[in-house]
Every structure is written in structure tokens, then in C-alpha cells.
């Protein structure tokens, strides 16, 4: 449920770090809470994100929620597949439902994120 190789935020985004590139998505728990996702609005390449600032929105049949940048940096790519198939966020949140690839501005920011155990504890708390 909570992959151990990822880092997490309290706002339920996950990050996979490969070199200086972070892949960003939302957790299985978040996708489940939102319900059927019908639309994801993401920034285009070149947009510079600030850590913890909203970078997009995810819309489900019952709510629209902000997405918050787990790390700051420049957007390299947004997942174009989500435009036609936003339900990928529900069906494969840690895989095909990824949202952004970001060039990490400050690697130190990654260190401040939750690890899998801490995120699992957060979710368990409710």
C-alpha cells in the first residue's frame, strides 16, 4: 500500500527520487479518499515550483483538491496520459498515475519529507 522506496508529504503526495529528478504523484490513500478522479490539472514543462505551494488540482466526482509540491524545482514533464485517462490516478497511483517529473532545486528538501513508515503512521492516525 505504501511503497518503501518513496518519500511522502503530509498532504499525501509521493516522490520518487532518481538522480536530480523527482517523480511526483498522490498516494493510494489520497486517491481512495477522493473517489473517482475525473480531471487532473498540471503545470507545463518549464514552470518552476516552490516547495509546499499548490501546483495543480485533482478533481473527483465529489471534490476538487489542490496538489502541493513536495519539492521545489523546474517541471520537466507532466503525465500527458492523465488528460485522457485521469482514472489512472485511482487504478495505479504509484505507477501509471504519476503526475510530474521535476528537476530538484534543493536536494535537502527531500530529506525533510516523510519516509514510508512515517507516512503509514500518519494515515493510520487518520
Amino acid at each position: 500500500m505504501v511503497p518503501s522506496d518513496l518519500r511522502y508529504t503530509k498532504t499525501h503526495e509521493w516522490v520518487r527520487v532518481e538522480g536530480d529528478v523527482a517523480t511526483v504523484g498522490i498516494s493510494d490513500h489520497a486517491a481512495g479518499e477522493l473517489g473517482d478522479i475525473v480531471f487532473v490539472e498540471l503545470p507545463g514543462p518549464g514552470r518552476v515550483l516552490e516547495q509546499a505551494a499548490p501546483f495543480g488540482v485533482v478533481e473527483s466526482v465529489k471534490a476538487v483538491s489542490e496538489l502541493y509540491a513536495p519539492v521545489g524545482g523546474e517541471v520537466i514533464e507532466a503525465n500527458a496520459a492523465l488528460a485522457a485517462k485521469p482514472e489512472l490516478v485511482n487504478s495505479d497511483p504509484f505507477g501509471a498515475g504519476w503526475m510530474l517529473r521535476v528537476r530538484i532545486g534543493d536536494p535537502g528538501q527531500v530529506e525533510g519529507l516523510l519516509d514510508a513508515a512515517a507516512y503509514e503512521a500518519l494515515v493510520a492516525e487518520g
Partner: protein, 475 residues
């Protein structure tokens, strides 16, 4: 039985729970000078006295005038079926219901309004309505800013000045900015948007433009080069907003055909009477790609569990009851009754009826142009127009006032519409619709010729005021 929501003891209990001594203490955060201090109302009147008083006030309106005034609000024939449908109790509210799907009939009327306006504008999505043309125009500009993540819009001075003022008010304090585009001063394109100025404004690399707003027909009745304006906007990755007059869309190219991303406009001409500025109807339409940016309610068509046709409020998640301060708009109220009037009007006239209304108005306007020209008031601008145009009249404000004595509302002085512009100091903006008759045009031309003749002869043999008034009553 107390009809008030809170009795004195209710209030006392609430104040005690809050630990506040008085209701006034709750308003301490509001500066004293701007706090309301009761209403300054006269003593109560009996019903008889009140009706006499209101009757006397209403009698001060000039409802006898032959009108050539337009400038955003137009008199058209409204078939009686429109009012008859509006009077039905099921519809008689300005609001969409709060448990909307229970009211399938109401949702169907909104859906039909949206569908007919989508057809008229050739755009994909139409909101359930806004307050008026100015509000819809401002919302369109905000949509452009949200969609492009840019903070500056360009609005042609050919857009109705009141809409530009509403836009400026909406933008105040948001960090967004509005720059106005001048109109061409002279030559064959005089009075239309200055395309060179548009190109210059779009070229500023430090201030990227979210949207360009232009009106068709524009505030002087002139036809704008909408395709070119849209092309320039798109070349700069800005959206193009067309501010439109809906009756004209039956004979002019619709916004969807010339590349507009959003259309906004005043819907009064579609079945609503002229009434001191309202209640009117804000039309807002956009391309499908912008559906999540359009504010206000949207009604969609689907099927229920048994496969039957069902109308629903759709895309609700964008609205303020869910998104709070991040909603597409903080104004979710609409003009459901006015939108219903427009839907009934459009259904009653049909496409060919609406075309007849627009085409007849245009033909009457051409007759009006010829008659006023012969009376000594040539057009101010040379370019093509549909049913509204400005004419040069020396001392126009005074002439306009004197023509009231002939029973004529001689359009609107251009100096009133655009104060402070010397090029527009001496003109009248006039329009014709399918209601304008040959007799009315003749009366206007006759009275104007007399006025202009009197103006040039003033000091020699100015006719007595009574003679001028007599011309009006003799027709």
C-alpha cells in the same frame, strides 16, 4: 407569534454564550464612519397614499418617447408567450434550486437556454447565466487569466465603457491588470480597434497577455476585424474573448467561427424589456477546453438508473460550495428567470424569426442613416455597421435635450457615452430595430433638420419652443 428569526431572548442567550455585551460589539472591527446607522425612512403611509405617491413618481418617467437609443440595451418585440411562461409559479424565482435534480423542469429550461446560446455563439459550453453583460465580460477576463496563468488582459475601447468599468472593478485588488486598446482615430477603420496598438501591447515580453477582449459590433455599432484580433491574440498565446450582442449573431459570424475562445455579452435583447439597467442577463460561453474555468452553474443531460432522460447540475466541484475561495467565481447566483425569458423568446422566434429581427433592424438602420444624412447629420465613422451607428451633430447634448420636446429619444450623445474624448464631443449614437417604423424615422429626421437649421439660423429667427413640441404631437 414572532415572525422574526431571532427573539430578544434568543439574542440575549447568544450574546451570553459568546461573552459579548451587545450586538454592536460584534461590529467593532468595522470603522465607525462606515457603519450603518439605521435607515432614513419617512413615516409609514397608508396603502392609498403609497399607491398615489409611487404612481406620481412613476408618472415622471417618459414612456411616450420614440426611442433610437441602444448602447447595449435594445427594444425588440417580445411575443406575449414569454411573459406568460414567466408568470408560472414553478419558474417565478431568480434562483436555481438548491436541490436541483428534484426540479427537472427548471433544469430542462436552463439546459435549453444553454443549448440555444451554444448554437448562437457556435461555442461548446454556456453557463446558466450571470448578472449582466458587464459581469459576464469581467468573468471572461478572469477565466483567461486562470487558464493561461497570466495576469494582464487587453480590452478594446470598442467594448462598452460600462463593461470596462465593471472589469476594472473586478480586477481591483487582485494583482491582475487591464490595459485598454485605443480605437483608430481617422481613416476607413476609424472607430474600430487599433490593430497596430494591439500588436505592440502583445509584444511586451515582460507582461504576457492572458486575454484580448473586443466587441462585435463594438460600442459605436461598428464591425470589428474579429478574425485578425483573434489571430493576433493566439499568436501571443493569449485567449480571445468576443463581447457579443446576441440578436446580431443570427446574421453575423458567431464567435466560434472566428476563433474566439470565450464569448460574453448582454442578453437583454433576447426577450427582456428595457428596464433601467435590469434585471438583465449575462451570457457567457466558451470552448470545451475551458469548461473547468467557466464560472456559474452548468446543467447537463444524462440518463438515470432506469435509462430515462435526466437533467443534472454538472461540474459542481468547481463551485464555491465545494472549492470555497478557490472556486471559479465567488458569484454563483444567476439570472434563471431572465435566462428562461431568453429561452422562451428564442424558441418562439426560431432561427428564421431571429434572423428576421436582426435583418429588419439592419434595414431600418440603413434607412435611418440615409434620412439623418439628408437632414444634415452624416455618420461619424465610415466603416460597416449592423443596426447602430454614430452621427455628427453639432452641440449634440443640447440638441438631444431639445428633441425630447419633440417626443424623441434621439439616441444617446456620444459625449455622454465617452466623456472627455474631443472627437466624440458632438455626436449621437443611434440605433434601429425591427420595431422602428418609417414614420418614426421621418419624425426624427424632420425634427433634427429643424434643430440643425435652427442652430445655423439661431439669433435670427429661433422658433418658439411650442412650435418644436408641436411637431412631435402632430404625427
Amino acid at each position: 407569534m414572532a415572525y422574526g428569526p431571532h427573539t430578544a431572548s434568543d439574542r440575549a442567550r447568544m450574546l451570553a454564550a459568546l461573552g459579548v455585551g451587545s450586538v454592536e460589539a460584534l461590529f467593532e472591527a468595522i470603522p465607525e464612519p462606515v457603519r450603518a446607522r439605521g435607515l432614513d425612512l419617512p413615516a409609514a403611509l397608508t396603502e392609498m397614499e403609497l399607491m398615489a405617491r409611487l404612481g406620481a413618481l412613476a408618472a415622471r418617467n417618459r414612456v411616450d418617447l420614440v426611442s433610437f437609443a441602444g448602447a447595449g440595451a435594445y427594444r425588440h418585440h417580445v411575443p406575449p408567450v414569454v411573459d406568460q411562461v414567466l408568470l408560472r409559479g414553478e419558474f417565478y424565482t431568480a434562483y436555481t434550486p438548491y436541490q436541483p435534480e428534484v426540479s427537472q423542469g427548471t433544469l430542462q429550461t436552463i439546459y435549453e437556454y444553454q443549448s440555444m446560446l451554444a448554437e448562437l455563439t457556435s461555442l461548446d459550453v454556456v453557463s446558466a447565466s450571470h448578472y449582466d453583460g458587464g459581469a459576464a465580460t469581467a468573468e471572461a477576463a478572469l477565466m483567461a487569466c486562470r487558464a493561461t496563468h497570466r495576469e494582464r488582459v487587453l480590452v478594446s475601447r470598442g467594448v462598452n465603457r460600462q463593461y470596462r468599468e465593471t472589469l476594472a472593478t473586478y480586477f481591483a485588488g487582485t494583482g491582475l491588470s487591464v490595459d485598454e486598446l485605443p480605437l483608430v482615430a481617422a481613416g476607413p477603420d476609424a472607430g474600430t480597434t487599433d490593430l497596430a496598438a494591439l500588436e505592440r501591447a502583445l509584444a511586451d515580453p515582460d507582461r504576457p497577455v492572458a486575454g484580448v477582449l473586443a466587441a462585435q459590433p463594438n460600442a459605436w455599432g461598428l464591425l470589428e476585424p474579429m478574425e485578425e484580433i483573434g489571430r493576433a491574440a493566439h499568436a501571443a498565446a493569449a485567449l480571445f474573448v468576443a463581447v457579443v450582442e446576441p440578436v446580431s449573431l443570427s446574421v453575423l459570424a458567431p464567435p466560434g467561427a472566428y476563433g474566439a475562445d470565450i464569448a460574453a455579452g448582454e442578453g437583454q435583447a433576447l426577450g427582456l424589456p428595457l428596464a433601467y439597467g435590469g434585471p438583465y442577463l449575462g451570457i457567457l460561453a466558451c470552448r470545451d477546453a475551458l469548461v473547468r474555468q467557466i464560472p456559474g452553474r452548468l446543467v447537463g443531460l444524462t440518463t438515470d438508473l432506469d435509462g430515462r432522460r435526466a437533467y443534472v447540475m454538472t461540474m459542481r466541484a468547481r463551485e464555491q460550495d465545494i472549492r470555497r475561495e478557490k472556486a471559479a467565481s465567488n458569484i454563483c447566483s444567476n439570472q434563471a428567470l431572465c435566462a428562461l425569458a431568453s429561452a422562451v423568446y428564442l424558441a418562439a422566434l426560431g432561427p428564421s424569426g431571429l434572423r428576421d429581427a436582426a435583418a429588419t433592424g439592419a434595414a431600418r438602420a440603413a434607412e435611418l442613416e440615409a434620412a439623418l444624412g439628408a437632414a444634415g447629420a452624416p455618420r461619424l465613422h465610415p466603416g460597416p455597421y449592423l443596426a447602430e451607428f454614430a452621427v455628427a451633430v453639432p452641440d449634440a447634448v443640447a440638441v438631444h435635450r431639445r428633441l425630447l420636446g419633440h417626443g424623441l429619444l434621439a439616441g444617446i450623445p456620444t459625449a455622454v457615452l465617452e466623456p472627455g474624448d474631443p472627437a466624440l464631443a458632438d455626436g449621437l449614437l443611434v440605433c434601429a430595430t425591427e420595431l422602428t417604423t418609417a414614420d418614426e424615422i421621418e419624425l426624427f429626421a424632420f425634427a433634427l433638420r429643424e434643430e440643425l437649421g435652427a442652430g445655423s439660423a439661431r439669433g435670427r429667427a429661433a422658433p418658439p419652443a411650442g412650435a418644436a413640441a408641436g411637431a412631435g404631437t402632430a404625427r
